[in-house]
């Protein structure tokens, strides 16, 4: 359950930022989660209510933006989507590919009152 620690980080960062802005309340937090980040969005959701209780985030919405993974083939240059870490280029079948997106785990923005 490392999503619990990640969710605590979300609440910590958002609350610190909210205090800097002298906000009374956080209405929503938007988090970007890449499909290869190793984090299950549902588990973040599950932990969020418990972690936000008693903070400026109590009652806030957790908005999760899923980021699809994509890679670039180092041999032919083609960019392509992938649904798991193991991928070969769909054009030239090369296994030498660099990941362009999919490992994100980032708090993007929030709305405060």
């Amino acid at each position: 359950m490392h999503e619990l620690g990640i969710t605590q980080s979300i609440v910590e960062i958002a609350e610190r930022t909210a205090r800097e802005q002298h906000a009374a309340k956080v209405l929503s937090v938007t988090v970007e989660v890449g499909s290869l980040s190793g984090v299950v969005p549902e588990a973040l959701d599950f932990c969020f209510e418990a972690c936000s209780n008693g903070t400026l985030l109590e009652g806030a919405q957790l908005l999760i933006e899923r980021i699809a993974a994509c890679a670039r083939c180092l041999d032919c240059g083609r960019e392509f989507p992938l649904d798991q870490l193991l991928a070969c280029c769909p054009v030239c079948d090369s296994a030498a590919c660099e990941l362009l997106a999919g490992e994100e785990l980032r708090i993007k923005e929030m709305e405060i009152d």
Binding site: I6, S9, G38, F48, L63, E109
Partner: protein, 238 residues
């Protein structure tokens, strides 16, 4: 599940947006761990300490590999061992019985060690008098992959009593590892473990990964593992 309306799965997240002031944050959620890991790394560098993070499923033989390694090499190299488990000090007790300094970290509900725990864990050792710090992570092939501890290398242990397709099932861990130890090789004749496939799967996930097959009971492969340790340490001390 969505806490707002109880809908599942989490795709259904776009309810009417609350009206408030938008603030951009753009902060990595692992930033705090990564900062602490960098601090650990700087400390380890100062002491020219080689630090290895041992990861595997529960029961792959990490602790036995450590016991054997420490017993064989402690006259030549100074080790210290951090043991991570949810509960008990059993593993640290086993290590301490070899005479090597060991400290147990209990993660409680946690499924992995993080940089903060390791930073405090090493306060128990005299780092100037240590060549190699071994960190035995919690037996788990998922979560420890995401948490940098400040180590020089991750060593993934896979035993032949497990499936040869573990690298494909848990690619993140094998991609993050520099070395894979295939353990319990003495049992291979009794099992239907496909060694060649296992090697191929690991290389497919991580073309750079080094692989050493060994057994702590037949002692096959141990010298190759020890040479790997010596050469990594030599590079570190340069």
């Amino acid at each position: 599940m969505c806490i707002d309306c109880g809908c599942a799965p989490a795709e259904h997240h776009h309810h009417d947006a609350p009206k408030g002031k938008k603030i951009t944050i753009e902060e990595d959620l692992l930033a705090k761990n990564n900062r602490l890991a960098q601090r650990n790394r700087a400390l380890f560098q100062q002491h020219a300490l080689l630090v290895l993070n041992l990861v595997s499923s529960p029961g792959s033989g990490k602790t036995t590999i450590l016991e054997t390694t420490l017993t064989d090499l402690q006259s030549e190299l100074a080790f210290a061992v951090l043991e991570g488990d949810q509960q008990t000090s059993n593993d640290a007790d086993r290590i301490a019985a070899t005479g090597v300094p060991a400290h147990q970290i209990n993660t409680g509900a946690g499924c992995h060690l993080d940089a903060h725990m390791v930073g405090h864990g090493v306060e128990h050792f005299d780092l100037d008098a240590t060549d190699i710090l071994m960190i035995e992570n919690v037996g788990n092939l998922v979560c420890p992959a995401s948490f940098d501890l400040g180590e020089d290398a991750k060593v993934a242990v896979l035993s032949v009593t497990e499936g040869e397709d573990k690298p494909l099932k848990y690619p993140q861990m094998f991609r993050a590892s520099n070395l894979m130890l295939i353990n319990k090789m003495d049992l291979l004749p009794f099992l239907r473990f496909d060694l060649e496939k296992c090697r191929e799967y690991a290389k497919r996930v991580n073309p750079q990964i080094e692989i050493i097959e060994l057994s702590c009971y037949s002692r096959d492969g141990l010298e190759r593992w020890y040479d790997w340790l010596r050469s990594r340490l030599t590079k570190k001390k340069l």
